[in-house]
């Protein structure tokens, strides 16, 4: 089998797994997770083979692994779809394959496979324990998820969509994978559909990303109509096309076509990768089960947004004068940097362990996009790969913590919110493996120097910003990095260090191997992957024909990133290490009223609700539904009905009854009767009268004959 065929086959196993589970394995739990797991495993193996081949192929950027088919006949030619493995998609494929496989394995344990089914567990609600009797002692144990098989079906579909998005060679197929992922995020965020908050979160996620997708579709359509193709190589690797796009003016003033299309495509990323102002869905998406959060918000979906803009960087940077910025790049730098610091400030005031990570994701994605905005192409790609590993690790770790807390709550009978950090503490003793892996991920996120992958990638971004002379971006990102380190340490301290603050925390226990093994694997990557920077940079940099921005020789970025990381970590540890149960958050004292603002996410959700949701609801419920639909449209219909009725009645009374019924009836109905009745009288039955009649006729005939015929 050739490499091209193998690439085509990569997205196939998860799709088949989805179909098989949905059609045949609806209730069978073990079978469905084996099918899903083997599918993920097959795709992983194929991806590794492809990756191994790709990295040793010389000059991959100029001669990628390509294969396409003529799919849709258009005009004289056809629209081709196919696969393309070049340096960028090969590294993305690498981390996608690993994270997906780890998440699949983790899900088996997270959903308590092997545990008894809960007695009052309803499908659509999270399982909350079953009774188990051992030696006349009943205690509650975690119960298995009722909709176990469905979960694996959905994440298989999700994996299929992501693989498709990564391996494809044209924007339309990418958009297809994009949209399927949007669907899967809806299905999975709303997995526990009996919870109203989960349902609302699912709808919110779908609609918010839809806004971004709409603009992206416009960009897609514009690109196709201007260039006639959506293929990456024909647009992005073709300097002639890029120059033409950069120099032709679009209908929007002061923007070239390249700028307009770039901005529209970037808006798709703003939605999908939860940048400001479309970031509101991501924290609410924590309603889904933790593997879903890991998958969506670390490994796949949000990364897809960043992958898109990295892929289309040549288009967005087209027409760029040396060291300058095109309008899309300005937008990216601004929105990326703003989002990075904005989300980081919200993260410091959250008390839900997953929410902190959610805002952290938003912030880190802002980093990547800001990097692209200043032209640090390779740095953005590098940070994308690193972030995927450590963020997935952190999410799975937090899931492990939550799982352990739930177990402890069931065991001790304590009623706590298993996700509230302020109710945890001291878990490093109870869950050591989780602690060490989580710490590795956290330090990577904070950019702990030299031993973590995150340090290297973040340093690259700061170097790029500094080296390009974008001071505002540099300072903003540095500040965001400081806050990142701070809230990371805050989280680690509150969750793991110190003493347990609740009964549940003290009864928590480590999870099974099936959950901790993925953590370990991801932790290895989170630490070690950063050392591949020297290989990574030229490999991915060859995509642009040059290595992006030359690494700055100045030490300022390096020193800055060292300092912000260490000082942030220290500050977080110092502030929270003495935290006791049921005290107010120490940060409140420091920040004062600002704390409330941060805790409530700057009231943005409330703002959107007031400004967009309520008018929209008013338009739907009042304007359209009542005024237009009931009053105007129904009124028109009723009027037409009444008009028809009155016309009918009028015709009936003026025409039908008098003319038809009376007139014609009289003429055709009554008259023969009348005439017949009249003529009936002539037949009296009396011969003598017949004779009279005959004689009269004879006389008449005789008269006529006499008059006419000459005798």
């Amino acid at each position: 089998m050739s490499m091209e065929t193998l690439v085509w086959l990569i997205p196939l196993p998860p799709l088949l797994s989805f179909a098989v589970i949905i059609l045949f394995l609806g209730r069978q739990k073990a079978a469905s997770h084996w099918v899903a797991l083997s599918a993920a495993g097959l795709s992983w193996a194929a991806s590794m083979l492809v990756f191994a081949f790709a990295i040793q192929k010389p000059n991959l950027a100029a001669a990628p692994i390509l294969s396409s088919i003529a799919w849709l006949p258009v005009g004289k030619g056809s629209f081709n779809v196919g696969v393309q493995i070049d340096p960028l998609s090969s590294v993305v494929l690498f981390f996608v394959a690993w994270t997906i496989l780890m998440i699949f394995i983790y899900s088996i344990g997270y959903h308590n496979f092997g545990q008894p089914a809960g007695s009052d567990d309803k499908p659509g609600l999270p399982p909350h324990g079953a009774e188990e009797t051992h030696h006349h002692e009943t205690h509650r144990v975690p119960s298995i998820e009722p909709l176990y098989a469905r979960f694996f079906a959905f994440i298989s579909l999700f994996a299929f969509a992501m693989y498709t998005l990564v391996v494809t060679d044209n924007l339309l197929a990418l958009y297809f994978g994009w949209e399927v992922m949007g669907l899967c995020s809806y299905l999975l965020i709303g997995f526990w559909f009996a919870k109203p908050s989960a349902r609302d979160a699912a709808v919110k996620a779908f609609l918010t990303t839809r806004i971004g997708d709409m603009f992206m579709l416009l960009g897609l359509a514009a690109l196709y109509s201007v260039t006639g193709t959506l293929n990456y190589r024909e647009v992005l690797s073709n300097p002639a096309v890029l120059d033409k796009l950069a120099s032709t003016a679009s209908p929007i003033a002061a923007l070239s076509w390249a700028g307009l299309i770039g901005l529209l495509i970037f808006m798709g990323t703003v939605g999908k990768s939860a940048q400001f102002p479309l970031h509101v869905w991501l924290p609410d998406a924590m309603e889904g089960p933790t593997p879903v959060s890991a998958m969506i918000h670390a490994a796949t979906m949000v990364s897809a947004g960043v992958y898109l803009v990295i892929r289309f960087y040549p288009l967005m940077a087209a027409g760029r004068l040396d060291g300058g910025q095109t309008p899309p790049m300005v937008a990216m730098a601004f929105i990326g940097a703003f989002t990075a610091i904005f989300a980081a400030t919200i993260a410091v005031a959250q008390n839900d362990v997953k929410r902190v990570l959610a805002y952290s994701t938003i912030s880190q994605l802002g980093f990547m996009i800001a990097a692209l905005g200043v032209g640090a192409y390779v740095a953005a790609a590098f940070h994308l790969v690193m972030h995927a590993f450590f963020k997935a690790l952190l999410f799975l770790g937090s899931g492990s913590v939550i799982h352990g807390m739930e177990h402890g709550a069931l065991h001790s009978g304590d009623e706590v919110d298993p996700q509230n950090m302020f109710e945890m503490g001291g878990l490093f003793r109870k869950m050591p493996l989780t602690f060490w892996t989580f710490l590795a991920g956290g330090l990577s996120l904070a950019g702990f120097p030299f031993v973590t992958a995150g340090f290297w990638s973040k340093d690259e971004i700061l170097s790029g910003a500094f080296g390009g002379g974008y001071m505002v971006v540099f300072i903003t990102l540095a500040a965001a990095a400081f806050i990142t380190a701070f809230y990371t340490m805050r989280q680690v301290t509150l969750v793991f260090l110190g003493k347990p603050r609740t009964q549940a925390a003290s009864s928590a226990s480590e999870n099974s191997l099936v959950m901790t093994l993925p953590l370990v694997v991801l932790a290895v990557f989170a630490v070690a992957a950063g050392w591949s920077a020297n290989w990574f940079k030229p490999f991915v940099g060859s995509m642009l024909g040059e290595s992006g921005i030359e690494a700055s020789t100045s030490l300022v970025p390096l020193i800055t990133s060292l300092c912000v990381s260490l000082i942030g970590l220290l500050a977080g540890w110092l502030l929270y290490r003495g935290y006791e149960a049921r005290q107010p958050d120490p940060l409140e004292n420091i920040l004062g009223p600002v704390y409330n603002l941060l805790k409530n996410k700057y009231w943005i959700d409330e703002f959107y609700e007031r400004v967009f949701m309520r008018p929209a609801a008013w338009v739907a419920n009042v304007l359209v539904s009542v005024w237009i639909d009931k009053i105007v449209l129904d009124g028109i219909l009723h009027w037409i009905g009444r008009a028809g009725l009155s016309v009918g009645r009028f015709l009936r009374s003026k025409f039908d009854l008098p003319v038809i019924n009376t007139g014609l009836e009289t003429v055709f109905g009554q008259s023969p009767l009348y005439v017949g009745n009249g003529m009936k009288r002539a037949q009296t039955g009396r011969v003598q009268e017949y004779i009279i009649m005959a004689m009269i006729v004879v006389i008449l005939v005789g008269v006529i004959v006499i008059l006419v015929v000459p005798i």
Binding site: K680, Q683, T684, G685, R686, V687, Q688, I692, M695
Partner: protein, 102 residues
Amino acid sequence: MIPLSWYLIFAAILFCIGLFGVIARRNLMSVLMCLELMLNAVNINLLSFWSYLYGKDLQALVFVAIIFAAAAAETAVGLALIISVYRRRVTVNANDLDMMKG
């Protein structure tokens, strides 16, 4: 001498008197009697034509003879019918014989 026209006019008048009687009389017997008048008028007609125009031929005479026979037969049958009608309907009133009405 007597012109042919006198006979012919006389026969016509007799015929019409008989016709009037047939149409206007109520009693069935009277209708029969008036019918005899009409037949006799026909006989006069025929014989006057024979006498004035066709005296050498015998056809007219044969015709008249047969008319005599037919008249007799018809009278007999007519009377039998009247008696039969009388038996059924107990009437000899022509007005009452309207079973063919309608």
